[in-house]
Symmetry: C2
């Protein structure tokens, strides 16, 4: 059932039918009515491929993310982002083509979906895509937005969590509400923007209160690395009151290590994390943390992308999503 048939049926041209179906002006109300009726009766669905070929718009966006981080991580961070993206895009009649990146795939702009003009825009998720690769994408002129990543050299559309503010709030809570002074920060790889920003938030909070920053670094942000960092911290600073984990996995590892060392959490040592993954509530003691609105990030990214697609030439936007303090047991609030 195609345009031509329904045009023939009511004795108008395909152009008129097309106009009606695309809500374009230049067709009388009566004819419009007739077309709409015939289309509905015939249960007509325009062929998106033919439309795409004619308009060179696919009504499809690409979602690109690192395979390893996407599927093999402890918590479904990127799937949640995708879920938010999907919400907004399907509401607006767009489809999602997903591409998972291997380690080796450096040349993002060579991806089939881009190279073959299968998508109208791109969402590039995660800080694991090379800056040079992103620049290459930018130079193709295709609209795109970064999620959980930025480009320092160059202004681009991006959506990020306010990691600095979140970490600041968390540390501030330990300082102000619990009067802790000796607070260590268990960090992670500094190439990731989130880890850098969270560290900055911690440093600002400490500095504002005239406290000394105590930072331990690691190459990973897992339970194991959290345990390892906590052991180092306990050894190095005998007077430790509290630790702040760069994310929940690290914090949970820290609780483990502290407990094994015979320190009670939160009695002897308070612990806080970042992310609010689903296991945070199930930890023992349950983990106080800073919640990030992962799904919302995806939603906003999709919104930003559609804006860019539909209004070319818009200046790049940087969107920060605020966080929320989630108080549970591990910071010590329940003990007061």
């Amino acid at each position: 059932m195609d345009l031509k048939e329904i045009a023939k049926q009511i004795g108008v041209s395909t152009a008129t039918v097309s106009r009606v179906l695309n809500d374009q002006p230049g067709v009388s109300p009566e004819v419009r009515e007739k077309v709409l009726k015939a289309a509905a009766e015939a249960n007509y669905r325009p062929n998106p491929l033919a439309r795409s070929l004619a308009t060179s718009k696919s009504q499809t966006v690409g979602f690109v993310v690192h395979k390893e981080k996407y599927a093999f991580s402890d918590d479904p961070f990127y799937p949640l982002i995708l879920s938010g993206v999907e919400d907004y895009l399907t509401q607006n009649g767009y489809h999602i083509l997903i591409t998972l990146l291997d380690e080796k795939e450096k040349q993002v702009q060579k991806l089939p979906i881009i190279d073959q003009h299968l998508v109208d825009g791109l969402i590039l998720a995660g800080p694991f895509i090379q800056a040079s690769s992103i620049m290459n994408v930018a130079s193709t002129g295709i609209p795109f937005v970064l999620v959980d990543n930025v480009l320092s050299q160059y202004p681009v559309n991006c959506v990020l969590t306010d990691d600095e503010g979140g970490a600041y709030a968390g540390v501030h809570h330990l300082i102000t509400d619990h009067h802790h002074k000796n607070i260590a920060f268990l960090s992670g790889p500094q190439e990731w923007i989130s880890n850098r920003e969270r560290l900055r938030g911690y440093e600002r909070a400490m500095q504002e209160s005239g406290l000394e920053a105590r930072v331990i670094h690691a190459k990973e942000t897992t339970i194991a690395s959290g345990e390892s960092m906590m052991r180092q911290a306990l050894e190095r600073w005998q007077d430790l009151n509290a630790v702040y984990g760069v994310n929940d996995s690290v914090a949970i590892g820290a609780i483990r290590a502290a407990t094994k060392h015979g320190r009670k959490v939160p009695g002897d040592i308070a612990v806080m994390g970042f992310d609010d993954i689903s296991w945070a509530a199930a930890s023992q003691p349950s983990l106080s943390t800073v919640k990030i609105f992962t799904q919302r990030m995806g939603y906003l990214a999709a919104q930003c992308l559609l804006n860019s697609i539909q209004q070319p030439g818009l200046p790049p936007t940087k969107t920060l999503v605020t966080t929320e303090l989630v108080i549970r047991e591990s910071c010590g609030c329940q003990e007061k």
Copy 2:
């Protein structure tokens, strides 16, 4: 840069160029050579949309999964499936259009990607899609395969884990290697095929050894429901030696509850789970479990789907993926 241009460049028709590019016979080696060279030099990429319009094949498959289970679950089960799917499909030049299902969306066959012929086939993941919906999809004639689900009334392509066999092996380990006799099974919703099959495996193992089956049911398979079931089990059976959780979250909940009740795991009570999620190794004690090859399931599903697409009329296939016993601390092996 289109077909016509490169045809003109070397003085042949577009038909010939098309034949060469599609590896079709009827072109002399010399001309073929010339075309290939010109195409390479011009860095020519066929326009997939035009091709799809002409052939009515999109080289794209749809991946459909329940949004809630996809993104909000404790462990990235469906993302892993997707990753496996992606592996096989990209290897074969196919793209993936993803659709996340809301609660309310009952009419899978009405999804835009199907209705608008945007995909050549479908992967329907998870046991949350109504059987009637699946039948509707089947009646459209579009090739599809179920992952982590089956249709009892009707033979269809599906890929499943050998849940029955896995659970049998796990329980058998508790019986034979640890000489436990009083083993309870902490179950989950019976609508899910996996839960049913795991229960069956447990029952078979118990029966074969002449032991009495002890089953607790719950509406969920979370840590909380695991704790709750364990409390019930401990109350009901004083002589309990071991419990088998229908999945790792339940098993971890069971460990919690047992510990809170003053029972040592695995000393007083052995615990085993199913899935081998990433938190299983990090649990305390670390969880003995049955590993499922999630990514492989996706890979096989994709393979099955492409077979169906490329060779229409193939009879439906049911693929069972075997499991693997993962021995850690919670079953008691390390204590011997």
